[in-house]
């Protein structure tokens, strides 16, 4: 009892301190690494981190694997691009379009979710892929709005009015803010009754329903929530690159990369997709800068190795090992008596 108390007291201090250190590193990063390549890689990493965390808050918590979230990313990108050019907005003002892009993403997610969430497992995966292709096809074919194959060609009236040396910084801080906000909400969801209902659906949907969980309402709520940040980073991504065409806005590789990030870190945990994005996106960007297609194969091979060697992800595996190690080290008391299953449950809650 005594050990348990002191342990929770030490983690109660350690965790906020750790989070503060991470936040400080995040804020200081572009001030320390002023190199444009470093900030560019960081912006992409934060964009995909936000996407992975939001995706995980739906797919990881509920067990419904969506391979169609690029629908929201592309919609956010096209919306921001079209609105910026049409309304002639410039500079930092454009960032205020991102909440609107998020609303649009959420609004698209309602009908898509109502249709797709009627089916489960493989069928759900395939339906999300089908929606993905419908939206990509719309982007190709609605030429008067999207510019067809060539995408949105007209650049915004004036790019952001900052000095070249620190040009990336506003994008970095907006991406950082979106990532932090999304992680915070994903964490709150996981701790809430809503998050518990989602995990009950993941474990056994029919039993959850029989216990009074409104499965459709809960699933749809999580689906819509997860669409909003993805559409927002889609808009940010457009403003950063000022280019979007159907192939890059609706890119199937992104959908799978996101799932891989969550799997690498630990599906259904809060920290998992954050860690996954920090590992995978910089690796991908490094591979991408190589001229040949070998990077493509190396990426696929890396992908295979991760899934085969770490099927449960880094965070759950590491916390479980840590829990076992601590139980052995203390050697007695409640921890030693706890079954491995109880420890891994605890580990999952901590993560």
């Amino acid at each position: 009892m005594n050990t348990a108390l002191s342990r929770s007291a030490s983690t109660a201090l350690l965790r906020p301190a750790g989070i503060l250190v991470l936040l400080a590193i995040g804020v200081a990063y572009p001030l320390v690494f002023t190199n444009a390549v470093a900030t560019n890689d960081a912006i992409y990493t934060l964009i995909f981190m936000t996407w992975a965390v939001a995706w995980n808050a739906f797919s990881g918590y509920s067990g419904y694997i969506s391979l169609g979230h690029a629908v929201f990313f592309g919609s956010g990108a096209y919306f921001t691009g079209i609105a910026t050019v049409d309304w002639g907005w410039t500079g930092s003002k454009v960032f205020w379009l991102l909440p609107l892009a998020g609303l649009l993403g959420g609004a698209i997610a309602v009908p898509v979710g109502l249709l797709a969430l009627r089916v489960r497992r493989h069928t759900f995966v395939v339906i999300t892929i089908a929606f993905f292709f419908i939206f990509q096809l719309l982007a190709y074919n609605l030429q008067s709005i999207t510019g067809g194959t060539s995408g949105l060609l007209e650049p915004p009236a004036a790019t952001i009015g900052y000095a070249v040396a620190t040009y990336n910084n506003p994008f970095y801080y907006v991406a950082f803010g979106l990532a932090v906000g999304t992680i915070a909400i994903a964490w709150l969801i996981r701790r809430s009754r809503f998050g518990l209902q989602l995990r009950a659906i993941r474990d056994d949907e029919d039993r959850a329903r029989s216990l009074g969980v409104h499965a459709m309402r809960v699933k749809l709520g999580a689906f819509v929530f997860s669409a909003v940040p993805v559409a927002m980073v889609g808009g940010l991504w457009w403003y950063y690159t000022t280019i979007v065409d159907p192939a890059s806005g609706f890119d199937p590789l992104n959908d799978v990369a996101i799932a891989l990030m969550a799997f690498l870190g630990g599906l259904g945990t809060v920290a998992g997709p954050v860690l996954g994005a920090l590992v995978i996106e910089p690796t991908y960007l490094t591979f991408q800068q190589q001229a040949s297609y070998w990077y493509w194969m190396a990426y696929g091979a890396l992908f295979l190795i991760i899934i085969l060697l770490l099927p449960r992800g880094v965070i759950p595996t590491a916390t479980e090992q840590f829990g076992k190690w601590r139980a052995r080290w203390r050697g007695r008391g409640v921890h030693a008596a706890a079954s491995p299953a109880a420890i891994s449950d605890r580990a999952e809650d901590l993560a």
């Binding site: 694997i65 069928t123 493509w296 194969m297 992908f303 099927p311």
Partner: protein, 298 residues
């Protein structure tokens, strides 16, 4: 219209075969092979390389490509898919087969480049003319049957016959069906489930050799074409009901014919037919046309 319908039915047979491979793999192993699309393209490139470099007729080339694809399928199952365990096995099998697809795609880009190619052959552009005739009270205008479609449909029917006879007339086929019904029970009565899974995956991939040959003759293709194919094939197997070979055949014939008909007046929107039909059918019947109820359990 008659042209579109016959093209749809003949072309649909080839898609039916590729989709049957996908749905067979699902039925036995409970996984979806996302790599099926790029495997078709790989087979098409194999036929292409054989005909360009060794001057082997694509039809004769099947004698080489079918065994090669079979061995590749068995290897992929043995090396990667067999290793997956646990609750997230389904999702992980999607990612593993996608990773295999990414590797193959990269290799194809590296070897053949991104420029689209097509397999040239004597029967690529030849066709048989069918004169107009009266069917009941409707006048059917004359139309052409492309030889390659006839050959493809013939081969697909032959392959279906082989698959059917294997499934329903051999001991191995019985063990496949037993594994589809209940994996644990099959293991208990002495069926080597791992061997069944590997061979089924091999068969499911081997049919892509045939599909790839026909696809390569009728379309210009590059490594990117795999995405187009897999999205069509997935729509077909879901519409037919996962695990149902007959369902895959009906769905393929329906989808490809519908696409050909829409293609007559709206070429840009023809492929949206696949997804629109899929969404509408699943609204009415979430397990697909011939799917089993169990497929819905989470």
């Amino acid at each position: 219209m008659a042209q579109a319908i016959t093209d749809g039915i003949l072309g649909g047979m080839v898609y039916a075969l590729m989709a049957a491979g996908l749905t067979l793999i699902f039925g036995v192993m409970d996984i979806i092979n996302i790599a099926q699309g790029i495997l078709v393209i790989l087979a098409a490139y194999l036929s292409y390389a054989l005909s360009v470099h060794l001057h082997i007729n694509p039809l004769l080339g099947l004698l080489i490509t079918v065994p090669v694809m079979f061995v590749l399928g068995v290897t992929v199952e043995w090396a990667f898919l067999r290793r997956l365990r646990g609750r997230e096995r389904t999702a992980m099998s999607l990612l593993v087969s996608y990773a295999v697809a990414v590797i193959i795609e990269g290799a194809l880009y590296q070897v053949f480049g991104a420029t689209p190619v097509a397999i040239q052959s004597s029967y690529a552009n030849s066709s048989v003319h069918v004169p107009g005739f009266h069917l009941l009270f409707i006048h059917v205008a004359g139309f052409y049957l492309a030889n390659i479609y006839l050959i493809g449909a013939g081969l697909a029917i032959a392959a279906f016959a082989v698959i059917y006879l294997t499934l329903y007339r051999t001991k191995f086929g019985r063990s496949i069906r037993a594994t589809m019904q209940d994996k644990v029970a099959a293991r208990l009565i002495g069926i080597n489930v791992n061997r069944v899974a590997a061979l089924t995956f091999g068969i499911g991939v081997a049919v892509t050799a045939l599909g790839g040959m026909v696809y390569g003759v009728t379309n210009a293709f590059n490594p990117d074409s795999g995405y187009d194919l897999i999205s069509r094939l997935l729509s077909i197997v879901i519409l037919g009901g996962l695990g149902s070979i007959g369902g895959a055949m009906v769905a393929a014939l329906f989808m490809v014919t519908a696409e050909e008909i829409v293609n007559l007046w709206q070429p840009n929107w023809a492929t949206v037919v696949y997804y629109a039909v899929l969404v509408i059918v699943l609204l009415v019947k979430p397990v697909g046309l011939f799917g089993k109820r169990e497929a819905r359990a989470q």
